[in-house]
Structure formats: structure tokens, C-alpha cells
Symmetry: none
Subunit: 207 residues, 4 copies
Amino acid sequence: MGKKEVPSLVKDEKLIQRRREEMVKAAVSLFKENGFHRTTTREIAKASGFSIGTLYEYIRSKEDILYLVCDSIYDGVKLRLQQDINGEDSGIQGVERAIAAYFKVMDDMQDEVLVMYQEAKSLSHEALPYVLKKELEMTAIFEELLFKVVKQGELHLSENEIPAAAHNIVILGQMWTFRRWALQKIYTLEEYTQLQLQQLLYGIKGA
Amino acid sequence: MGKKEVPSLVKDEKLIQRRREEMVKAAVSLFKENGFHRTTTREIAKASGFSIGTLYEYIRSKEDILYLVCDSIYDGVKLRLQQDINGEDSGIQGVERAIAAYFKVMDDMQDEVLVMYQEAKSLSHEALPYVLKKELEMTAIFEELLFKVVKQGELHLSENEIPAAAHNIVILGQMWTFRRWALQKIYTLEEYTQLQLQQLLYGIKGA
Amino acid sequence: MGKKEVPSLVKDEKLIQRRREEMVKAAVSLFKENGFHRTTTREIAKASGFSIGTLYEYIRSKEDILYLVCDSIYDGVKLRLQQDINGEDSGIQGVERAIAAYFKVMDDMQDEVLVMYQEAKSLSHEALPYVLKKELEMTAIFEELLFKVVKQGELHLSENEIPAAAHNIVILGQMWTFRRWALQKIYTLEEYTQLQLQQLLYGIKGA
Amino acid sequence: MGKKEVPSLVKDEKLIQRRREEMVKAAVSLFKENGFHRTTTREIAKASGFSIGTLYEYIRSKEDILYLVCDSIYDGVKLRLQQDINGEDSGIQGVERAIAAYFKVMDDMQDEVLVMYQEAKSLSHEALPYVLKKELEMTAIFEELLFKVVKQGELHLSENEIPAAAHNIVILGQMWTFRRWALQKIYTLEEYTQLQLQQLLYGIKGA
DNA sequence: GATGAATGAGTGTTCATTCAT
DNA sequence: TATGAATGAACACTCATTCAT
């Protein structure tokens, strides 16, 4: 399904998956603390409980780890998002609930979100598109949601307004984490969510 | 006025300023291309037409360059913004015009904005606050603008809605650059500006 | 026993010891020729048959090498000294023999002694005390020897004369190496030893 | 009289001498603190109140400064020594007084002595002999003194004992400074002088 | 499959020295 | 004579990656 293959010297697929999970977990924690460039492969190996040799049995390069990390975080976010949105009531209320759920996910996964947004740019030209694609997929979730509600007649957005609106939702959620140094000082998550719902739906003039 | 002093071995202040400008210019271009960490001081020296020794006559460390770069970009953005907003008509129309002007600046300075947002995090704990402060100052410009219009009675925002709205404006402008890979494929700047103005003012439901 | 630990990235203790011995040997030779500051880590690596990377697997810094060098030299001197003095006849004759043995060691280890005396001062404030302590221990060997003979009644030194006498012995031995440019031109080791024994025991007036 | 010429770009000899004195003074102080290698020419220039350009008008290289420093210190030591010894009473008492005076000079000029002994080795092969020669001249002062007293019949040293004795005197004086970390903790200068006079004249057995 | 010692190109930074003004 | 900006060779040290065991 469009995922980038990361080759491994090891054959056992189950083992690969298990080991990589541990590596990714250690890497996220280290990247969060020191960033991708300041984190050494030795540190990642040590933090995940492997020797440096073993680490390189499961990846080809340091960048592979970054890709795996980004990939894993996206999967995590998307998984939680789909769970939370799933089967929700439709209409405007459904949109509101989805946004609130998304904001909650962003809040819960702050460290991961931060890592992804600060380090993804270090991916090579080869790997970057895969990650960008995931980002688009996430935006598409909200596009579809909006589209559905437009179709239901509860919303009157023209076709080219929908992508912009979806991007706005996605970014406003991420902003909660990457502007935490400002926003989380003046708002709680609940306040922030309420405020942004209000402004997203009705604008600053709309009320 | 709260700027971080970057010491130089050279005494001539005019010369320092001139040389640093050239260095910053070269650095922005390189950082944009390869990122801060992948850019070497030698490359910066060469690209700005100096020897590595001369580079270090004007800065103490590689990080100083990053700080200078961020500092310079903020000054550039703010300068242009204040020029463009200055003396504008008041009321909602003034806000709209300011936002459009801001979006235009973001569009014109895409490379710089990108560098700032992707590399600022590499600043040391000592330098980061200075940059964050500048970011807040930029947000404050819009806060004040909104506050004025609220006072004029043309806008009905409560006090704690204003910061959120200002952050939204700032971020939506930056989003035009750091999501260029998606947005600039489907919108022109003018379309994007119109769309975002509409949604900022009236929301997706508001119309 | 009060030694400074020098950490290594390599785990195999035996290997560490073996490799470091080779490095120290190469370093002594280079330090003797060009001094600590004029010797580069690359030269040390090359002379000991390793890559620069490998060198740094076994030490943390250039200064570590200097410490290791000093440490190793002291151990060497002390070891030989204790072997040569061990089980010797007592009384004045024992002292004479010990001094002669010590002078012989100084003569045999001229390069090392020279390095130690000329470069130890380049040790950091952290490492210096460890080296000074070793020097004191060497002095203490002669203090004890003298003390024993005083107790035996063959020597009539007051308590505060003993340290001075011990320092004199130590220095006069080292002088043979660090004033080689003068002394070794006019004396053989044997002559020097005889002369100094005479003067140490009876003074210039005493005969 | 056997001095090494250090060329200068400046013609005025008086000026050269005056400027160099200031440079040497600053350099001694810096060398004492940080050693020759850790002291930069810029620091020396600054500390002596000149620009780096001016510094190089009066010397050709950093090493020239070291030579000038050593030279100046030797001159200082010798000058004071000759003043203090001059016209003294003859015989053994004259020797004793000379030694005590020499020890006093060493004590007064500790910093300079230390610099000379720790940094002289950094002189090039070209300059070193000049400094060694000075050291020999100092030894010769005591050789002559001893020779005179032997001739007077108050001392019975054979011809080849005299150089050794003179070297011993010189070194024991220097030892007071370069073993200060041990000796100056247990003796005052007066105690040390008395002790060493006793041992020099009568030895440890002689009394 | 696992280990960890070995590698060396590459990095930020320093500093003695020069030379145009 | 005096200045100080410019230079670049040289340095200590790092770290992703390999490969023999």
C-alpha cells in the first residue's frame, strides 16, 4: 500500500518487526530530546538494548531509522484518529467531534508529533514523498468528512474551499504542540479546542 | 532592545554589519537547501566569499550564524509587515488588508521562512528564547490589530479569543510556505488569501 | 589505589591494556622528540599503528594520553627501583646501593624521565595531583630508607632533614637526564654516581 | 657577547628595547599562567598594549618572544646574583652567603624561574644553545667561587668534583621553585636554605 | 543472528602570520 | 611606524558504517 520498503539482513519478518519497534521507540525518545542529528546510532542501539552491529542488521542507515520513526508515528496518529472518529454521529456535530478527537490525539502524542514535524525534513529526497503522502492522507480524512457534511446539506463549502478547511484543521491541531511554548501557557486543551471550534466554524466575525 | 549580542573579533562595527549580512545571505541559501546540520561552516564561508578564518572573525560559532539568520529573517519580515500595514484603513477592512499583506510577505520570503521554521529548534537554550520572543512579537502585531477593531465595535471577540485568532493568522500565513508542497499545487496565492480570509472571518459554517 | 580512571569505549579490558601500552610507547617517543603540544593525535595514532578513530576508542582526549604516559613511566621507574633495592644490605651501604640503582634507572629511562619532567605540567588541574602524588611516593621510598638507617644509628639526621635529603637524592638522579647536555659531556654515569654519592654523604667540605 | 640577534622591522634601537621590554613583561605573566603554547600572540599583543601588527614589527615569530623572555629572565637572575655576591667576604663563608643569596633570588623570581624551566624546551634547535649557554654561565659563577676557595685551601675538592658541586647548587636552588608544591609546604625559605647549606657542605653523613 | 572493535572522512574551530592602508 | 582585517593550514575530536569472529 505504498509504503517504502526498508531492507534488512535478517530474514525472520516477525523478528524484524519486533526489533524495529524497540528501535523506533528508543529513537523517538532520543530524537525528542536531542533531535535527529544530535542523536548517534550508538545511542539508539544502546537505548534499544542492542549492539551497534545488531542495529545495522535491521536497518541500512541512520536515515532508515528516521523514516521508520516517522512512519510509525503517522500510523499511530492515524490509528487513534480512526478509532475515535469511527461510527460517530454525522453532520456538523460529527465534524466537531472529529476535530476535538484529533486535537486530543495531538495532545496525547505531543512528543511524537514534535519529532515528526521537526525532523521529517531530514529525510532524503527518496523517503520524503512517502511521509508527505501520509500527511496528505491525514488531511484527506478531514476532507472526506467535510465533503460528506456538505453533501448532507449542513455545510455550504465550495469544492475548492474544502481542502483549505481540512488543512486548517490539521495545522491547528499540530499548532497546539509546536506552539506549546505559547499556547499551552494561556489555554488548557479544552479551552483551546472550544476556541478553535468556534473560530473554525464561525470565524472571528461570524458569531 | 533585548537582542542577543554576538561578539566579533573585528572592531569596525560597520564592517561587521556588512560582512555578517553577506554571511547570513549565503547561510540562508545553504540552510534552505541542506539544512543547518548538513551545512558546513566552510561552505558558508565559501558561499559568502570569505575564508574560514575570516568567517570566524565575525562569529564565535556555527550556532551564531543560525541565530544571526533567524534574527535577520524576523527583522525582515517585521519590517516589511509594518511598512505594508502602516497607515492602513481601520476596521475589518484594515484587518483583511493586513492579513493579505502578511500572506504576501510570507510568499515573498518563502526560503527564509522555511529556514526559520525548520532550523530555529537547533538554537541553544540560550538563544532560543530570543527567537521565540520575536515570534510572539509578530503575533502581538495581529493581537493589537484585532483588539483595536474589537474596541471600535466592528468585531465581537472576547479577550481570550484574541490570542488564538492572532496565532491562527500567523500560522496560516506560515502554512502557505511550509505546506507549499500541497497548497501551492492547488491554489495561487490570491486564491489562498481569499479562501483563508473568508474562513478566518466567517468560518466554514458562517457564510 | 588512587589511580585516575581513563574510560574507554572498548569493553575488553585486556585489549584496552594492550592497545594503550602500544599507544603510550609511541607517544613517549613522539613527546620526547617534539613535546606534547607539537605532537598531534594523528601522529600518535599512526606511530602506534592505529587509525585516529581507533585511538579515540581507547582514550577520550589527547590529555588522557599524556596522563597515561606519565602514569606508565612512574610505574616503570618505581617497579625497577623496588626490584633493585629489594633485599639489599642495610645501613649506609644499603643507601648507597639504592642511590646508585636509582641513578641507573634514571639513566636507562632517560627518554621517559625527560618527557615526564617536561610535559607533566601540561596535565589538567584534575590529573596533575595524581602525578604529583606519584612523585611524592618516589621521594618517600628514600625517606623511609634514610629513616631506617637513622634508626639503626648509622646516620644522624634530624627529622626535618630527612625529606630534604630524600628530595635531593631524587632530583640529583633526574638531573642526570635533564642536564644531560652538560653533565653527560663531562662525566660517565659511574663517575657521576661516585661523585654524587661522595657529596651526598660527606658534602663538599666533609671529606 | 654571544647573544642571539632577534631582527626587527623597526630601526630605532631604543624604541625596540623599550617595546620589547613591555612585550616580555606581558609574556612572562601570560606564560606563567597558561604556558607558552596556550598563550596566543594576540593575547601577548593585547596585554602589552600593542596591536598584533605592531607586535610583529618587533619580533619575527612567536618563538622570538620566548627567546626574549628566557634571555631577559637569565639576565635578571644573573644581575641580581652578581649584585648580591659582589664584594662578599671570601672563603667558605663567601660560598655560603652566595648560595643563600642565590636561593633568595630563586624565591623572589619564582614565576620567572618556573617559566624558564618549563618553556625553554619549546625553543627551536637554533635558539636553545643560547639559553643553555646562559645556564652554564650561571653554573660557572659557582664553579669559579668554589675554585677560588679551593685555591685558598679552605676546600679540598678535586678538579672534577667542582662542576658537579656547582650544578648541585644551581639545581637545589631551582628545586625550591619547581618542587614548591612539596618543599614550600614543609619548609620556609630560611629553613630550606639552612638545611641545604648543611647538606651541601657536610653531607648527610658528614656531621 | 549477534557482537563490538576498527575505520577515516569529515567537522567546528584556532591562531600564527601577512600586508594593504 | 602602527593598525587590524584577512588568511588557511592545522588541530582535536566524532560518528556512521563495516566486517571478522
